[in-house]
């Protein structure tokens, strides 16, 4: 099974992603658009074992475009720990992708890479989304957040022994 298609199918189950336009590699930068960005996975990090299986990692990045607002945070004594601000809300929403991936991994709900691969783990490579920059040429300005995700799997296609 193609791993990119497996990832697309998997991500459609993520609530933050499911209800928004999802693009693959090439995207229109608009508010709430999501983009899967492929990464060239380095073969040097593969770990071969003596039974012919190989531990591999499949990494990709999700880009999330969010509109920004230039508004200072307000400390309201009547609402402690609550800072109504769109930027904070957007950031928390993007954080939802990381939290969802973590939760799926904890419940062993992993992508399906086909019978030749045993998927062992999916994890976000950072605890929080990365802010890559702001596109000020559009209105409203767009923040570009990214979350890198890594799938660890065992490629058993070259194993000789059948159990």
């Amino acid at each position: 099974m193609d791993k990119n298609k497996a990832i697309i199918e998997y991500l459609f189950n993520c609530p933050v992603i499911a209800n928004n336009p999802l693009f693959f590699n090439f995207a229109e930068a608009e508010d709430n658009n999501k983009q899967i960005l492929t990464v060239a996975n380095d073969k040097k990090i593969n770990k071969p074992f003596i039974d012919g299986s190989v531990l591999k990692k499949f990494t990709f990045t999700i880009i999330d475009y969010r509109s920004v607002i230039y508004q200072a945070l307000v400390n309201d004594p009547e609402h402690p720990n609550d800072y109504p601000n769109e930027n904070v809300d957007e950031m928390m929403d993007v954080q939802g992708i990381i939290d969802w991936v973590t939760e799926q991994n904890d419940h062993d709900n992993l992508p399906n890479f086909g019978t030749d691969c045993v998927v062992e783990q999916i994890e976000a490579l950072t605890d929080t989304p990365r802010l890559n920059g702001v596109d000020s040429s559009v209105s409203p300005n767009l923040a570009k957040y990214s979350v890198s995700i890594q799938v660890q799997y065992l490629d058993i296609s070259k194993v000789l022994w059948n159990k």
Partner: protein, 180 residues
């Protein structure tokens, strides 16, 4: 097919892949034998012969070597406790109970050389050269680790060897000795 007809089935200069040298453990009652290939998640493991060697040099300067014995041994580290590993369960129970008899001299260990075989052109299914060491020990040396539970093991071969062949590369292989 006779063992003598089996040959190194590699092209000139081609190296045998490590996965074609297979170690399989067998244990349990004769009516309920269990088998498991060793080496899942192990990056490097070799059969060390540990020879006991005595050398002497005569007055002409020629050195003679006596090999008194070998004590073959193979380590598997890591040997992870993994789902589906009957051997990991067996050894974990034995080591936690300090039941030495459960793992000393009770295993048959097959060494299968998938690169020495009848070739694929014969009309019969390919058979692979193998030897069986009877009454071997698989000694768990520790249990623990970091993220995943590791149970490193040492296989001590008995040198009680039967030469033969196996009919397939799977847990349900049939081992035939060289006389059949």
């Amino acid at each position: 097919m006779p063992l003598a007809t089996k040959t190194l089935n590699l092209k000139d200069g081609q190296r045998a892949q490590r996965k074609t040298l297979i170690t399989v453990a067998e244990w349990g009652e004769s009516t309920n034998k269990k088998r498991q290939i060793l080496g899942a998640r192990t990056e490097d493991s070799s059969i060390e012969l540990n020879p006991d060697i005595q050398t002497s040099t005569d007055i002409l300067g020629i050195t003679y070597t006596d090999v008194n014995k070998t004590e073959p041994q193979q380590s598997f580290d890591p040997f992870y406790v993994m789902g589906g590993s009957a051997l990991a369960e067996y050894l974990t129970r034995a080591m936690l109970k300090n039941d030495i008899d459960a793992y000393a001299n009770v295993f048959n260990i097959y060494i299968i050389t998938a690169f020495i075989n009848d070739g694929t052109s014969s009309s019969e299914p390919t058979k692979y050269y193998a030897v069986c060491h009877s009454g071997c020990s698989i000694i768990p040396t520790a249990i623990g680790g970091d993220s995943y539970t590791n149970l490193p093991i040492e296989v001590h071969y008995s040198n009680n060897i039967t030469e033969g062949e196996v009919d397939k590369l799977s847990d349900d292989f049939v081992f035939s000795d060289g006389t059949t």
